[in-house]
């Protein structure tokens, strides 16, 4: 089995079509495949997501005010 290190210097060994077919039946995701924020928080619960969405909404509002000031 070849790992990352052995293939770093290699050229692609298959066409895009072959790659797409190889990936088609890939395993399902694992529970830790979740969004991670810049400060390291993981969105691993509904509560975490809702808290983050509040921050996103505040940022969006801040950007809208900034856009109004510039125009």
């Amino acid at each position: 089995m070849r790992g990352y290190s052995e293939v770093m210097a290699a050229q692609p060994v298959m066409s895009a079509e072959e790659l797409i077919e190889r990936v088609r039946q890939a395993a399902p995701p694992t529970p830790d495949d979740v969004t991670i924020l810049w400060d390291g928080r993981r969105l691993d619960s509904r509560e975490a997501v809702m808290e983050w969405l509040t921050e996103v909404a505040a940022k969006r509002a801040e950007e809208a005010i900034g856009a109004d000031v510039r125009s």
Binding site: M1, Q11, S45, R46
Partner: protein, 139 residues
Amino acid sequence: MSDPDGPPHDLGRLIEVLDRHGVEYLMVGGVAAIGYGAERPTEDADCVVRRERANLNRLADALRELNARLRVGGMTDVEAQMLPVQIDGTTLDMASMSTWMTDAGPPLICSPVWRLRTATWCRTRSWPGERWCSGAMGS
């Protein structure tokens, strides 16, 4: 939280939609490694995207076309669809790595980086539908 009954991974559709929306991105991680000959499993499609607002807006357009849902621990895909997530450049800019379920199957993991460095670490080929690299550096 695995969904063995979910749709098959349609990497071709993911790439087609990202390309059509003009997203600047590179496929990395397991998909890229397989393209370069690594025999390893993968369960998602990792990409790095240029962290520039117009590009993130284009990525948001592509994600909306793919009916993207945030992937959340402890929640099913159906439950996650009910979350009031507005997919736009602001949302994408506020996560260092966002994970989305899409109608194309595999979780699409997007990591914004300030710059895509393509000289040494990344090799991309320009024919339509193929865009992968063996590594990516962002700064």
